[in-house]
Symmetry: C2
Subunit: 384 residues, 2 copies
DNA sequence: ATCAATACTTGACGAAGTTAAATATTAAGC
DNA sequence: GCTTAATATTTAACTTCGTCAAGTATTGAT
């Protein structure tokens, strides 16, 4: 990233990260926040300014009792560089172009007919081209592409070890995508990418530890502990969906009993709602409708699901004690039906001070997943 | 710790830690393991040797095809310094003297009649004196004392915020103990101290992430992730005992339902065993006896408890994916009754590759808690 | 004895921080 | 307008802690 060295001085990365995630900050504030001398910040900021990543804002707020030279806050030049992020699902590619501040500039959804590797890669190439050629002139200032895939992914090698939904085994996705697009590619698990996005640019900013729970067909969880994303030694981490919370609950496809996902995954909810309403063709949206109109049998399904999610979240809070937890995902489109039950389940099962952990519950536009992918490639730039 | 600086070069701490935890290692091996040049290791080792913490062993094994100068492994001089560790419970003080390798040299148990702060501190003073004056001449070479207390403890200030069993609130334990003994004192939560001990000197050595589960009256869990002990933002972490695993299970004293502890804590087991056997005076040991002799009703209580523990452990494995998990504690004195059920519960509920996480299940001498306290003070030395 | 192999040490160098002093810019008081 | 106190930033000398490259040490094999 910088002319001289391959790996960059810690202070440079620290300064860049702080300005990116916490907005414009003067050198003195940066120094205090990062535990560095202001001289060190001056030096670290210089190459970043020279390369156009940061710039000085005009002096603004007056500080203190009224005297003193005004600070020159350092801010990110958002349009210095753009990043493509693509979330790959079995039936759709979702692609975005983000600026350096992770703001989405353009988004494209493209349906897929077949999750076959070759077919997906071909579509991916077209999608990336279309994104880069869309109005805005992104191509000239885009060098990086982030990909988010569900399943077991090795971000260091860019290998997709196993993705159940896509039915991919050991696909060297980074290599393929780099050859295809000519961009520098990062590959990450989708939930981890989203967690990263929320940690750097969302509600997790500044939190030393942080958890993101996604509610959808599956129920996932990304964890940041000690400022670092938790990866899990055996490639497993954040599998909140398969925590058992009801010893007599339904059997899960994973072989466990009473898994959160088997109670609160959208498939599980639909199944239950069909059974209770006696309408075997019911869709998720229809079930939501019924519940909103006061159908008690279907409402109880959502209540139980919300409780299960809350209980799973409480397990996270009890075990790792994150500073805050964000609950999100497609399933929360119906979050009015969930929220109180999630909170109730959480508060009942959270132990002691863990109950004080702030919970944000809100739905999430589907592009957010692709933004997560782009965020990972922003991080890759900053760390380089 | 060293003459010049207050904080020591990272390499010095790294070398000391590696030799302490992984045994004698030559400089070249250390360099490879730590990602340093061998020159850096030579320099880092020098002050440690000069101060008597490390020494060179005689060359030993021949390496490679047969040629080359033999290595001079660096080893810890275990008797260079001693450390006192004391575990404080409501009815007992357990004290040990450990050497630098965390080997217990002397242990003393001392009953307490009253968990009042002043009474405990008085006894603590006597206990430390007795330990230091016991045969072995420890006093002259002991500068540090580690204390382990259950409950909410702030290790940076040495404040015991709240300890339910002791009924202590905001006791400045470090300050008091330092004044009392003249030693440099570290204070830590008991489970975290034990986790630290196991991470540095037990089965957790070398693991980048690691979990310790303790089974007793309470059920606790210590976590190491990314090589660092997890502390929890709200002072809560590792509360595996209050994860809810049975939505219809018994109500727990914490207000939750079906908590692991409400099913598998020793008190819960005794309660259940009394009920099922119809003997209201039954003790834990008697219940163990009955189960071992084939009493099916009491045996089922242990089976259910073991399953609950396994299920809680699976939650840890699913969420954080530790490289290994150790299960231990007083409750495991009867581990023959538990083990298969713990493993069964774990394997049923562990998701995917998480089931591959090695599980060590074994009882633990009670002095181990005090050794944990001493270990924390060894760490404090190394980090200084 | 010589050589190849491996372990360790040394000293010059460089990267990346520190501290202390200089410089810049402002508001307030006179 | 001038001075002063306050705050921000920069500069330069210095410190720390590592690397690299070259040397020394010690061994088995030829």
């Amino acid at each position: 990233m910088y002319p001289k060295a391959d790996v960059v001085a810690p202070a440079v990365t620290a300064v860049f990260t702080a300005v990116l995630t916490e907005g414009p900050l003067s050198r003195v504030r940066l120094a205090r926040r990062l535990g560095l001398s202001s001289a060190a910040v001056t030096k670290a900021a210089r190459p970043l300014i020279e390369m156009g990543y940061l710039h000085e804002l005009a002096a603004t707020e007056r500080t203190g009792p009224g005297a003193g030279r005004p600070a020159s806050p350092l801010a990110v030049r958002a349009d210095r560089e753009f990043f493509v992020g693509v979330k790959i699902t079995a039936d759709e590619l979702i692609g975005v172009v983000c600026d350096l501040c992770a703001q989405v500039r353009t988004a494209i959804h493209r349906p897929l007919t077949d999750p076959d590797v070759e077919a997906v890669l071909t579509e991916l190439g077209h999608l990336v081209d279309e994104l880069l050629d869309s109005p805005g002139g992104y191509r000239a200032r885009t060098r990086r592409l982030g990909l988010a895939v569900s399943g077991d992914v090795d971000p260091t090698t860019g290998l997709v070890r196993y993705s159940p939904f896509l039915r991919w085994h050991n696909v060297p996705l980074r290599e393929r995508a780099e050859k295809l697009t000519g961009l520098t590619v990062t590959v990450e698990n989708d939930v981890k990418a989203l967690t990263t996005a929320e940690h750097w640019f969302g509600e997790g900013v500044g939190a030393e530890s942080f958890a993101l729970v996604t509610v959808g067909t599956g129920i996932g969880c990304g964890l940041v502990i000690g400022g670092r994303l938790v990866s899990g030694s055996h490639g497993v981490a954040g599998e909140i969906g398969h925590i058992g919370i009801d010893a007599n609950g339904p059997t899960c496809h994973c072989g466990g009993r009473g898994c959160v996902e088997a109670i609160a995954g959208t498939d599980a909810i639909v199944g239950q709602a069909r059974q209770r309403s006696g309408r075997p063709e019911l869709t998720f949206d229809e079930a939501v409708d019924l519940a909103r109109r006061g159908d008690e049998r279907v409402g109880a399904v959502f209540a139980r699901a919300g409780n299960a999610i809350g209980c799973g979240i409480a397990a996270v809070a009890n075990l790792v004690g994150p500073a805050r937890i964000v609950v999100s995902g497609e399933g929360l489109a119906a979050y009015d039906l969930f929220e109180t039950h999630i909170r109730a389940g959480f508060e009942r099962q959270a132990f002691g001070a863990a109950a004080e952990c702030p919970l944000s519950i809100r739905p999430l536009p589907f592009e957010e997943w692709a933004r997560g992918a782009a965020t990972v490639s922003i991080q890759a730039l900053v760390a380089s």
